[in-house]
Symmetry: C2
Subunit: 304 residues, 2 copies
């Protein structure tokens, strides 16, 4: 991440031809992560350039996100079509982040760019009694995207090394084993054709205060608030440390972690859309070829 920090200061304000958004935001395998060194208000790789000014960059980001939406939907359709001919590939977007970091907003604005028929969204809350009766990956496996689908997880199996670690919900030994269990699980998913895109929405402590206050100010947002959110906020340093560990130990070649600065909502949406687009373009899914006689079918239809 030290390299990223340096890069952030020198890049031109657009992912450009040199480095992809993925390269800018990816946590290198095995490297230590220091979240405090990453500016949550920064906008690495965003379009518009530094000369555009704050409003200009936001406008350029919004326009670029909308443009990516069409490309995302088109690639999604190809992926979905390919699955009808046996292609098992699919995409899984994992969203993690502190309260108010924008997991729900990302689902709404980025997952909302896809055709809902091929998009499987799942929010993981505190485990139910039944879920607690099973290994922690049990409920995750049941919610995975099918071949051809885009899966979106709002929280995930990482809660079992985040809140579980901060609140000591399991013995230390068992918690420690989970990182390796997660890596094996994700490797197996990747082997089965799942492109895993893990995004940590990196919010600043100050911005969280503003967003929680905004929820209190608007009665239409009270349902999103709980006094427990303030108690969790008090555990901020412990959560940041738990995130750093999870990012370090579980950013793999098969399933990299990306740190997306999330204080600016337009940038968050742009970056997640850009990451998905890079992964889908790398898959380059293709419409399957007809396994029937097109001309013969046309003749039969014309006389029907």
């Amino acid at each position: 991440m030290a390299e990223r920090k340096k890069d952030k200061d020198t890049h031109t304000g657009s992912a450009g031809p040199d480095r992809s958004v993925g390269e800018l935001l990816r946590v290198p395998v095995g490297e230590a992560v220091h979240l405090a060194r990453i500016d949550a208000r920064s906008t690495p790789g965003a379009p518009g350039g530094k000369g555009a000014g704050k409003a200009g960059r936001k406008a350029a980001g919004l326009a670029d996100t909308a443009a990516m939406g069409e490309r995302l939907a088109s690639l999604q359709e190809r992926l979905y079509a390919a699955a009808t001919a046996g292609d098992r590939r699919r995409v899984l977007l994992v969203l993690q982040g502190m309260d108010t970091s924008g997991k729900g907003g990302t689902v709404k604005h980025v997952a909302g760019l896809f055709n809902p028929a091929g998009c499987r969204t799942r929010a993981f809350k505190a485990p139910t009694a039944r879920e607690l009766d099973h290994p922690f990956l049990w409920r995750i496996k049941k919610a995975l995207p099918r071949p051809g689908e885009i899966g979106v997880f709002d929280r995930s199996h990482y809660e079992d090394v985040l809140i579980a670690r901060v609140h000591e919900l399991a013995p230390r030994n068992r918690l420690r084993r989970r990182y390796a269990q997660i890596n094996r699980f994700e490797q197996a998913l990747a082997d089965d054709g799942v492109s895993i895109v893990k995004v940590f929405l990196h919010l600043s402590y100050e911005e969280q205060r503003e967003r929680l206050l905004a929820r209190l100010d608007d009665p239409a947002k009270h349902w999103k608030f709980s006094p427990g959110d303030i108690e969790e906020r008090a555990l901020w340093p412990a959560y940041q440390e738990a995130y750093e560990l999870a990012l370090e130990r579980c950013s793999s070649a098969a399933a990299p972690w990306y740190v997306v600065p999330a204080d600016r909502k337009w940038y968050r949406n742009w970056a997640v859309a850009a990451l998905l687009l890079e992964h889908l373009e790398a898959l380059a899914p293709r419409y399957p070829e007809a396994d029937f006689d097109v001309e013969e079918c046309r003749s039969r239809l014309l006389t029907s």
Copy 2:
């Protein structure tokens, strides 16, 4: 439906203050349905009026659908929020229709108006071996929307009285019993807070030919085509009869059927959006009130 036919000739081209879209399109409980008497190219209740011309009416329909999108998303959020406080209400849109009638297009364009976080979409294909080992409603029950969600079924339990009837996939006696089973099932859902909106996308025989030919003409659409579609098309009269029976026997006060003329895609999307909007407005979901001390939370946050 005889009454509807009469009305179609006299209404002013907008649902207007007199009759809602639901009233215009609903299959009255217990009445015979004659699909051949309903023009699949008609646009009952659409905005724009007869003076607007064909292009003008389409433009007005598209604009109205987009405007309804914001209202739908807003009501969906309220429904979702209400569920967090114990409200069990939810909406289930059931889409049925012949091949190419636009079930998938409706999912894309109408379900796509909602926040994916609260929208559960499911397409029912031919039952798997495991599903066939269970009663026909088994797989349906597993896919139902949870409280606060919008559920969308692309095909449904009605396949078990449609394709199952046309292809005699079950003994006559068992098929006959299914209508009553479906009515009891849907009544139980309604009693549990599910607003069921059942839509038959009414396509003409000629328009189906055009749409199947269009799939053959475009290699990017070949994956949507199967020669079996032509064999099914040959059974058109049997399917229309099966639909008429299902609409007659299963249009109930708890779960009405709506016949949406589907030859014009813009009208199909407009009508389904309008039906959902009417149902959501009737529910009038409300944001729950705070069950915590807002001022006390604000003070604690400001010093955090």
